[in-house]
């Protein structure tokens, strides 16, 4: 009996020696911040020393009311929902299609496609954010293509307007038409557009502009004067500014769902599929009755990961837009960060937001449990 007690005590000591290091760090990083957050969210703490500095105390639940009354919070919340929708209705189906194509060997070199499509996941989110910011900017490849199109278009119109090279005379209507092509920004370059532009064109003419090759220098000169530079309107228009962000999220994470789906497809017993094929099942039937049902758990799992991922995502939008223009691309995490660190910090408010996000996460965990009960057993 005494020996048993001794063993028990040794066992207990070993248990805590192994569990405590992990548990204490976990408490420090996850549990304690939640408590701190709860305390500060109902306080009037405003930065500075927490102990021994300016006194602070209970200030009521006003910060929560402020958050829920703030249209910027709801905008951020809406954007989080967009991220979830893009994941669930964009990444998941695309990832599924890729996985299916690879799994059913519709293409050769399965490893190659899988490897390449996963690459964006490996790159630092900051790199991805800054890279796409540049790609969508007027100086990116899209900008160059668009500018070339504008140029080409403008020159074509000029050539038709000027007519055959031999019969060239500068008429008022021609100049007026060119000004129309140039648009308001182009016309604004001249004090008195008509005469000034006319004399400019004549000077091109006398400089050998109308030679055997047509109006080369004249067309080039006018193009350089007038063609507008492409500006990515969708980054400046508030109602569509989320689109590039959502596109990049799709670009970045679809490969992850490909990996998840493929790994789970490979767990399916291939004999079931083969015997179904021998019994005359068509490809569509194999997909409908064998592959899809055995992946329902993965689909639910992925959707939950997508929601929790959207709540925690921060760096991509922080790097790509910083939440702008005029705060339209903020998601909850950036909304929280800006309240804490931009301008006059409002830590009470930021902590209220943190706690609201934690509450959403807990709701999510309960939803998971509920879904697991419905789809029970189908997972893994």
């Amino acid at each position: 009996m005494a020996r048993m007690k001794h063993v028990d005590r040794e066992e207990g000591r070993a248990y805590w020696m192994m569990v405590l290091p992990a548990f204490l760090i976990y408490l420090l990083v996850m549990a304690f911040p939640i408590i701190l957050s709860a305390v500060l969210s109902v306080s009037d703490y405003s930065g500075g020393k927490m102990f021994g500095g300016e006194r602070w105390g209970f200030a009521g639940f006003g910060q929560y009311a402020r958050v829920f009354a703030d249209p910027f919070f709801w905008n951020a919340f809406k954007n989080n929902m967009y991220v979830v929708l893009v994941s669930v209705f964009g990444q998941l189906p695309l990832g599924f299609i890729f996985a299916y194509i690879i799994y059913r060997r519709l293409v050769k070199w399965p490893d190659f496609w899988q490897t390449v499509l996963y690459v964006p996941n490996i790159i630092s989110i900051i790199v991805v954010g800054l890279l796409w910011q540049t790609i969508f900017s007027p100086n990116g490849p899209i900008g160059e293509i668009m500018n070339n199109m504008y140029r080409h278009d403008f020159q074509e119109q000029l050539r038709t307007l000027l007519g055959p090279a031999s019969g060239f005379t500068v008429t008022d209507s021609m100049v007026r038409r060119i000004l129309e092509l140039a648009g308001p920004a182009g016309a604004a370059q001249f004090g008195d557009p008509l005469p000034e532009l006319k004399s400019l064109m004549l000077s091109f003419g006398s400089a050998g502009g109308i030679g055997p090759d047509g109006y080369g220098p004249l067309v080039d000169g006018l193009t350089n004067l007038f063609v507008r530079k492409w500006s990515p309107e969708f980054l400046n228009k508030p109602d569509v500014a989320m689109l590039p962000v959502l596109f990049v999220i799709l670009w970045m994470y679809t490969g992850m769902y490909l990996i998840l789906f493929l790994a789970n497809m490979q767990k399916i017993d291939t004999q079931i599929i083969e015997s179904a094929r021998i019994d005359g099942a068509r490809e569509g039937q194999v997909m409908r009755y064998i592959i899809l049902p055995s992946l329902s758990g993965t689909v639910v799992n992925s959707a939950i990961l997508a929601i929790s991922g959207s709540l925690s995502s921060f760096a991509l939008i922080f790097a790509m837009t910083g939440g702008g223009p005029s705060r339209v691309t903020e998601i909850i995490s950036i909304y929280m960060y800006n309240n804490a660190f931009l301008g006059r910090p409002n830590f009470a408010l930021a902590n209220a937001i943190a706690l609201i996000t934690v509450a959403i996460s807990f709701l999510l965990i309960m939803l998971t449990k509920a879904l697991e009960k419905r789809f029970g057993g189908k997972e893994e």
Binding site: V107, V119, V127
Partner: protein, 286 residues
């Protein structure tokens, strides 16, 4: 033509059509995936002046000047070692602590297991990013703001929920008889851990290493609020310096982005099999 032959031909054209479509889909998306990355690398060898004239196409006179400038401006010779310390330190910590706790949860009976293990599992969906503001305040109060220790603690704490979950589930699969017979031979638990559990848990340790190495090397949101001194910053923080006021010096920015991308791309090329396997195994939600 017999009916059978006809349906055979139909099936074959159908299959050929499906294959063509499959290739088309894969090629389009592969190009879309790789093009921005290739574009970035190509343009990192152009001067900013050349880039402003031509964003498409290859550099006329490839230059490494962007790289030397970016390396110096970004203080990358300081940030690289930091990133290594954080990544290796935190990953090793997560693996060791997860396996220790997992061993205790899986093989030692205790009434404490249920609530503590459950709290770890809840943490899988409770992402630490949500808590960045209170974490910042907590570390400031503890006097740990702007220390390596804070970064390591936060990274380890963030990795533990998934780590403990995977380790516990894996160690449950190791036969208890192995542990019991070692106990009868008089071995202590720590000895059993080193001699039996640790070697047998290599697969789950690999999964955890893969998940955490890529995650921590690229991590930005948390370290962004934990340190401000250049001496303590990691690579992603250094790269972020190239946005904003410097975003018009494209050559330098592209070189910095390529420098930031390269280590993980190489790591991926070497370990891609293990990485894709690890990702599939680690995508748990408790």
């Amino acid at each position: 033509m017999s009916e059978e032959l006809k349906s055979g031909i139909l099936a074959r054209t159908g299959a050929a059509l499906a294959k063509t479509l499959a290739y088309a889909i894969m090629i389009v998306f592969t190009v879309m995936t790789l093009y921005p990355i290739v574009w970035l690398i190509i343009n990192s060898f152009k001067t900013t002046q050349e880039f402003q004239v031509s964003q498409l196409g290859f550099p006329k006179e490839p230059t490494l000047q962007n790289y030397t400038l970016a390396w110096e401006f970004g203080d990358f010779s300081k940030l690289f070692p930091n990133s290594l310390i954080y990544t290796i330190g935190a990953t090793a910590g997560i693996i060791l602590l997860s396996l220790l706790a997992g061993f205790a949860f899986a093989k030692i009976k205790s009434r404490a297991t249920k609530p503590i293990y459950a709290s770890f599992v809840i943490g899988i969906l409770l992402t630490v990013n949500t808590l960045m503001i209170p974490l910042f305040l907590e570390m400031t109060v503890l006097g740990l703001y702007d220390t390596r220790l804070a970064v390591l603690l936060v990274y380890i704490g963030a990795g533990l929920p998934t780590g403990v979950y995977l380790a516990t589930e894996f160690i449950k699969g190791i036969p208890s008889a192995l542990v019991e017979s070692a106990r009868i031979d008089g071995a202590g638990f720590l000895r059993i851990f080193w001699k039996i559990i640790l070697p047998m848990a290599a697969p789950v340790a690999t999964t955890l290493a893969i998940l955490n190495i890529t995650g921590i090397w690229n991590e930005f949101a948390l370290i962004n609020i934990l340190v401000s001194k250049t001496e303590l910053k990691s690579l992603p923080l250094g790269i972020f310096k190239f946005s904003g006021s410097l975003s018009t010096d494209y050559g330098k920015q592209f070189a910095a982005l390529t420098i930031g991308m390269a280590p993980m791309l190489i790591f991926y090329m070497v370990f891609r099999k293990q990485i894709t396997k690890g990702v599939a195994a680690g995508a748990v939600k408790g």
